[in-house]
């Protein structure tokens, strides 16, 4: 339609779309799915790292980790707000998450098993997230773009902190070094999966790219991530768990093994190491907290009634 053409022209010119402006239903829906999923990932993402807060090995590390997990909750807040500008409430989004009708990033279905995972999550998982998110700062939807700008700033800080933990571990005692290598072994392929399936198997991509909701292909970003991460691993003295990994002079990037995509689809389907525990923890938190939320609503009603006694009659 003409409306759609005008909309696409605006995007092509690099204009930002703002909440009250006209947009195609598909654009709105795709954005809700994408931003909502990102928001859910932030809050579910509190759990694997939250798992080590009470066991952080020093007071400084505990404080840094607490601050990081707090930032993630904050990112969830920005993103839910961005999503709400599209006409869906946070509670609706939560319900969809709890009913299993919306996803969160599958990476959070892997367990955090040693302290080195706090380093590897920051280094690899936040690293991959940033790789995905930096281009989204230029996404076409205004509130989303602005949320991404704030988030990227904090995420790169988190990534540096994660790398600093890896440095400590990799240059520590033999046990610490072993922990660091073990964390890399377990998290390498799941991190590669964070960019989604190979372009040839990826649905929705073309439309999302023309709408500037998606800025790069999955394979482009994955390649970039590998090329950035491999020298960092070398600097740490750790070995990337991929015997096929090799610099390819011709393409100016690394050749590397694909992750096991059957595992990816399994985890997506609910059969990951922690799917049930993660979603179960969120549902329990929500259900156990119902009285708290209801209590606050009840108080607000009473307070309002006291302010305008007429309303109470």
């Amino acid at each position: 339609s003409a409306e759609e053409q005008a909309f696409q022209d605006r995007i092509d010119r690099g204009e930002k779309i703002e909440p009250k402006e006209w947009m195609p239903e598909g654009y709105r829906k795709t954005l809700i799915r994408q931003i909502g999923q990102h928001a859910h990932s932030e809050i579910v993402g509190q759990l694997p790292e939250g798992n080590w807060i009470t066991r952080a090995p020093t007071l400084e590390r505990k404080a840094i980790l607490l601050a990081k997990v707090q930032d993630e909750a904050g990112h969830g807040l920005y993103l839910y707000s961005a999503c709400e500008t599209l006409g869906v409430t946070r509670d609706e989004l939560m319900e969809l998450l709890h009913a299993g009708k919306m996803k969160y990033s599958s990476i959070f279905n892997y367990p955090t098993l040693t302290w080195a995972d706090m380093g590897a999550v920051g280094w690899l998982v936040d690293g991959a997230a940033i790789m995905n998110q930096v281009p989204l700062q230029r996404t076409s939807y205004g509130p989303y773009s602005r949320a991404m700008i704030r988030i990227c700033k904090e995420e790169s800080f988190h990534q540096r902190q994660g790398y600093a933990i890896m440095m400590k571990m990799a240059s520590g005692t033999p046990a610490q070094k072993k922990m660091a290598q073990d964390a890399l072994n377990r998290l390498w392929y799941p991190s590669l999966m964070m960019f989604g399936p190979s372009d040839k198997d990826s649905v929705h991509s073309a439309q999302s790219m023309s709408w500037k909701i998606k800025m790069n292909t999955n394979d482009e970003l994955r390649q970039k991530f590998v090329d950035q991460t491999v020298p960092q691993a070398e600097y740490l003295g750790l070995t990337v768990p991929d015997p096929a990994l090799k610099w390819n002079e011709e393409k100016g990037g690394h050749d590397f093994s694909e992750p096991d995509w059957s595992e990816f689809y399994d985890v997506l389907a609910g059969n990951g190491p922690c799917n049930k525990d993660r979603l179960g923890a969120r549902v329990k938190a929500w259900d156990d907290g119902a009285w708290f939320r209801d209590g606050l609503v009840a108080h607000a009603r009473k307070a309002a009634a006291r302010r305008t006694p007429a309303a109470a009659e």
Partner: protein, 249 residues
């Protein structure tokens, strides 16, 4: 000197253990704003712990660090108040514990700002703003939930009934307290009671909650005689330092 060391542990251990309890909620609280709010409280308390235990280590003068004190003492060497080691229970129990402690904490820090020991006064001055905010936040929530729904009222009243017997310990004095009060380094704990009472009563009144009548007070934390909960907290908290002695993190 030994009295000062002990007194600093009493403060620093209390902030440490409370931070631990609060941080257990991370990712599990009833709304996102509370996840953020509680993480913030825990973060402030850890920062204060570093200062108090850091000074304690300095006063002790045996070459131990704040981390050594936090991670390498067993329960009987901890000096925190019992109230901070109470299990989190439902969110109402957590909030009520926070409120009762915050009100005490603020009075304590206000008094410590006048300490004859400038190092103590300095830490107190840094911490007092954070704690004033903690109290503002917890008071507000206690009021809203106490004067909220029937269920939230009941839960807050239950929490108050359960925790009240753990407040008396805040105001008990022993020899060490008396020594330090005489030197003007720390307030006599009993001197904080009146103001605490006033603040707490005002908030609980507005929250439509009734203060229990019994004045039975659990005690022992300040002397290292704890509840059975502390051992479990420390086993978890100290695992890495215990399992990998001497490693640097």
């Amino acid at each position: 000197q030994e009295a000062l060391f002990e007194a600093l542990l009493r403060i620093g251990d209390s902030t440490l253990i409370l931070a631990h309890r609060v941080s257990e909620w991370c990712g599990h609280s009833p709304v996102l704003e509370e996840d953020i709010g509680l993480a913030n409280v825990a973060l402030d308390l850890i920062g204060q712990t570093q200062m108090w235990l850091g000074l304690a280590a300095e006063v002790e003068g045996k070459g131990r660090s704040d981390n050594d004190l936090a991670y390498l003492r067993d329960a009987w060497d901890f000096r925190n108040l019992l109230i901070v080691e109470r299990p989190n229970g439902d969110f109402g129990q957590t909030l009520m514990r926070q409120f009762l402690f915050d009100a005490y904490h603020l009075e304590l820090l206000s008094a410590l700002m006048q300490s004859a020991d400038p190092r103590v006064a300095e830490i107190a001055a840094k911490a007092v703003k954070e704690v004033a905010y903690h109290l503002e936040r917890s008071s507000d929530l206690v009021i809203r939930l106490g004067d909220g729904s029937e269920e939230s009222h009941r839960r807050m009243q239950d929490a108050l009934n359960d925790l009240w017997p753990y407040t008396g310990e805040m105001f008990l004095s022993d020899d060490k307290d008396v020594t330090l009060a005489a030197e003007g380094v720390m307030p006599d704990p009993s001197s904080l009671r009146a103001k605490w009472d006033a603040v707490v009563r005002e908030v609980l009144d507005e929250a439509t909650l009734s203060i229990p009548e019994s004045d039975f007070a659990h005690k022992g934390g300040k002397q290292g005689v704890h509840t059975e909960h502390l051992g479990y907290i420390l086993a978890e908290m100290q695992f890495l330092q215990r399992a990998y002695p001497g490693a640097s993190w």
